[in-house]
Amino acid sequence: MAGSMKEIKLRIRSVESTMQITKAMELVASSKLRRAKERVEGSRPYFETLYETLFDIVRTDSAFDSPYLAKRETNRRLYIVIAGDRGLAGGYNANILKAIEADAAGSDYCVLPIGKKAVEHFERRKANVLTTAFAEAGDLSVSDCFEISRLVCQKFLAGEFDEIRLGFTQFVSMLTQTATVLPVLPFDAKRPEPGHERESLMLYEPDGKAVFDAIIPEYLAGVVYGALCESVASEQGARRMAMDAATKNAGEMIDHLNLYYNRARQAAITQEITEIVAGADAES
């Protein structure tokens, strides 16, 4: 009996130290989450205004044509996939990678993975990888996003890809994060009927097409940066939840083990008393 008591004690200690780690990870994730959320909110007005402007140009002016607008027959797609650098974040990485697989099923596609987990996944799958220069999702800055955008726009204009889609995890709330696949290029907006030339009195300098073509790379960089911020926030949110659950499970496990331990202790005491009483009986 004494042996099993010691075993249980050891087990409790090991679960306790695991619990300490998960608790620490949860705290780290919540503080990182706060910072990531601030970043998302700080960048939002910039990109929303950009998008509105682009949308307005396209909506009100039918007189120009841009390669970014032309819908081509989709032969080759490029997926920009944003996943995490580390695991232990619940279903975060698996969800986004699964969403991409489902979306791309059966078509010829190429990926630009962002985040170590995405890079590893697509390398294992032997998918066509455009570049692995952006493996660290946590370290990417605005200027990296502009580099990605420049690269992607160049390939798009050169006709290497007919459609660009972006896979990221949307930060809906602290408790829900959804994996989303979003088409970004060609720019999708309703064109006015030819003949209804200009409705707005906006003056575009030098003209609508030049402004549109100049802003598109900025817009793409913006979308990538925005998606990255959302994904980082989602990753921290998912990790916080997973670690919270792990901490709770560890607590429950310790309660159970304590119960077993007390039972074992009680049994040992009872046995000892029985032995003493039996011994005393034999004496008399």
Binding site: S43, Y46, T53, V142, F146, E205, V211, A214
Partner: protein
Amino acid sequence: MATFPLKILTPDGVAYDGPAVSVSCRTINGQVQLLAKHIDFCTALGMGEAHIKLEDGTTRRAACMGGMLSMLKGECRLLATTFEWADAIDAERAARSKTRAEEMLAQKNLDKRDMELAEARLKRALVRSSVAARKDI
């Protein structure tokens, strides 16, 4: 003088939000200046120096690169990829980045992409150092 509401937004957040008398910056078509009561207007930005004239007559200068400038119903919005006030520019860092870009460009066997990157870096560094150097205004 008449003022108009001006918002300067960057991906990192809001750089300025308040009234201004005039805003002047480099666009893809050259330097432009907007005053109050301008008609609805929209253009894309180039790389260069921006001047914001405030209500009290002071002029603030900044390095302003990429993005767009729009005036809609009397409200002006300047969306810049990079927007740094002249007093916040790290001149030493700009100088270092300039020498690094020049070293890159001095190499003969650059491929096209590296060349473009180095050129863009050099341009940014030059704008930053020229804005930082002119402390007089």
